[in-house]
């Protein structure tokens, strides 16, 4: 297990853990940066749900080049991608509406 302190907020951890199958949630909490999400049972449909929940919660839109297995590989990877989008959003016009 990693010793890197977890960088994310509570909402992120809650959404990621909720996306895992019930049986894997206990092992995933507390969430660590390098937890293997696919190993933990994060399936494609749950990945899509997680994507949409993160976009709604943080007011961002993941561009197509970030819609890869790599982005969703670990909580650390996913948080990093999310942070880069939030910074982009700040740089431009403030928090954008992720949904039409």
């Amino acid at each position: 297990m990693t010793h890197v302190p977890c960088p994310w907020d509570e909402q992120f951890a809650r959404l990621v853990i909720a996306a895992l199958p019930a049986a894997a949630r206990h092992d995933a909490a507390p969430l660590t940066v390098d937890h293997d999400l696919s190993q933990a049972g994060l399936e494609s449909m749950a990945t899509v749900e997680l994507l949409i929940r993160l976009e709604t919660a943080y007011g961002v839109r993941f561009p197509e080049h970030l819609l890869t297995g790599g982005t969703f590989a670990t909580p650390g990877d996913l948080w990093e991608a999310l942070q880069s989008l939030r910074e982009d959003a700040k740089d431009t016009e403030g928090p954008t509406d992720a949904r039409r």
Partner: protein, 545 residues
């Protein structure tokens, strides 16, 4: 590497191993010969025709690249030569546990070109199921990806090869052949290698979930090619199509997309599960026009379409089988993909496909899975085996050249499902599914035998209760477990409603005997690797409490 020598095989071991059906195979052959005198009757024949017609057209792509028909052919031949060098002979089984990558298509055509038999196995299959499959199919060698090759060696007791490693040899050979330095494949011998006959065994396809022991459907070339052609006659794949293969290639619905695509001279676009968060973008990027769907894939696609404000991908046709799409999902697809038609279908691996509804035929006949494939017959039988008139519910049975040869090394199970008329020799496949026909021969599927049951003296089907549950606003998915062994009728629902709310909604829609005693709200229905509801898993959930 040396291999354990397989027992000496004579020509066409397929027939020897499915002895009781020899009679039917002869008949099947004569039927298909009269129908398709000049058309290819083997799976490699389909590829050869496509290569002759359009060598430079794209045949298959995956995330790593793309092959034309000529390139696919060169790699199939090079793989066949690789098998020959490892002592593989006509009728030998080659187990391939490979994801949705281009190499699979070359392994498929190469194995069959060599006269050997391909056993595709899902990489998602767990050891619990894989172990019996690995011994049941009795392969001469196995192919896996990464560390999985070691597991296959252990479970089969035969040589197992890592795909990426062996592919370097195959690719080099294919490239030498493309430069004209070597023939890619030069092994033709009527007893040992090459040039399969229409009645030779082509595929062993393990069916998922219905019984505890692994069970493979024995598929010769002729019925597979007949089924491919008959499906295409109804659906009409085109040379310009890009056909999505997001379903596992080990699942016959996924596998036959390759055959349909090659028959049409189209391009197959292979994707793997970890790419599916990008599925909607992939459809647009690759210009996908034909999308075969199981319900879970359809729901995912709709969720992704809902967050995308770009142009809709150019999909013109959605097909569905395996498990039926619900009405709201079909309506959602039509809304999100203007111009796309939807073609519900119904089938079973034992004859590949039974019915196909013409694209958009559901608008006129909602709930129907279509008419029998051209050149085949669908019957609805009473318990005593006599044919029932339209409107009556009974067991769905099938006759025609698409009926496969039975189950691998399981004569009793074969005799039970593939019933031969002692007088005519004709085989009637008893599907174990129930349904009825309308006056025009359109079939309505009502459920598996196991899904039909009596409660408080009332006959009912899981399908009707599930359909009523889906009609309750707020219920996204539903599965019913029949009463069994002291456990009453149970509903599993994916919903934001409370369990009582779901049951109340059902009470408004169904007579009281059909309203489940218990509703359990779950995050998602457990699925088998092929995207069907995993009822055994649900049963275990109930038993655990």
């Amino acid at each position: 590497m040396t291999q354990t020598k397989a027992p000496a095989q004579t020509k066409a071991p397929a027939q020897a191993q499915t002895q009781p059906l020899g009679q039917t195979q002869t008949q099947t052959q004569s039927q298909s010969q009269t129908q398709t005198q000049t058309q290819p009757q083997t799976i490699p024949g389909l590829l050869a025709a496509a290569v002759a017609a359009r060598p430079g057209a794209p045949a298959v792509r995956d995330r790593h690249g793309r092959w034309t028909y000529a390139q696919l052919d060169a790699r199939a031949q090079a793989f066949a030569a690789w098998l020959a060098e490892r002592g593989v002979r006509r009728g030998d089984r080659v187990l391939a546990r490979v994801g949705n990558v281009r190499e699979f298509t070359a392994v498929l055509f190469g194995t069959l070109l060599h006269g050997a038999v391909l056993v595709p196995v899902n990489p998602a299959m767990k050891r619990f199921h894989l172990a019996p499959v690995a011994t049941d199919c009795d392969p001469v060698l196995a192919i896996g990806q990464g560390a999985d090759a070691d597991l296959l060696a252990e479970l089969t007791g035969r040589p197992a090869y890592e795909l990426g490693t062996l592919w370097r040899t195959v690719e080099e050979r294919a490239e030498r052949a493309e430069r004209g330095e070597d023939p890619a494949y030069a092994y033709e011998d009527p007893y040992e290698y090459g040039a399969p006959a229409p009645d030779d065994l082509a595929l062993l396809i393990y069916t998922s979930g219905s019984t505890s022991a692994p069970k493979a459907v024995v598929s010769p070339h002729a019925p597979a090619v007949f089924a491919t052609r008959a499906i295409d006659a109804r659906l009409g794949y085109r040379a310009a199509d890009k056909v999505l293969v997001a379903l596992p290639l080990s699942f016959d619905y996924g596998l036959y997309q390759i055959l349909l695509s090659v028959l049409a001279g189209a391009e197959a676009v292979l994707t793997e599960a970890d790419q599916h968060v990008w599925l909607y973008g992939a459809l647009r990027e690759y210009g996908v026009t034909v999308v075969p769907l199981v319900p879970s894939l359809a729901e995912m696609l709709l969720r992704l379409a809902g967050r995308d404000d770009g142009e809709a991908p150019p999909v013109r046709l959605f097909t569905n089988t395996g498990a039926a799409l619900t009405g709201p999902v079909i309506a959602g697809l039509r809304a999100a993909f203007p111009g796309a038609a939807v073609a519900p279908m119904y089938g079973t691996t034992e004859c590949k496909r039974i019915t196909v509804l013409e694209p958009d035929g559901d608008l006129e006949r909602p709930g129907s899975v279509g008419r029998a494939l051209p050149g085949t017959e669908v019957l609805v039988l009473a318990d005593d085996g006599t044919a029932l008139p339209p409107g009556s519910t009974g067991q769905i049975a099938v006759r025609g050249p698409h009926v496969m040869s039975g189950y691998w090394r399981a004569p009793e199970q074969t005799a039970q499902r593939f019933r031969t008329d002692p007088a005519t020799g004709e085989v009637t496949l008893h599907t174990g599914d129930y349904g009825h026909l309308d006056g025009d021969g359109h079939l309505y599927f009502e459920g598996r035998r196991d899904d039909l049951f009596k409660r408080r003296g009332v006959r009912m089907s899981a399908v009707e209760i599930e359909a009523a549950a889906l009609d309750v606003p707020g219920v996204e998915a539903a599965a019913v477990l029949a009463p069994d062994d002291g456990i009453d009728l149970t509903l599993f629902a994916v919903t934001r409603l409370a369990p009582d709310g779901v049951l109340r909604g059902l009470g408004e829609r169904l007579e009281s005997a059909k309203v489940p005693a218990v509703c359990r709200v779950v995050d998602a229905l457990p699925l088998t690797p092929n995207g069907k509801t995993d009822r055994r898993h649900l049963r275990r959930l109930v038993e655990a409490t």
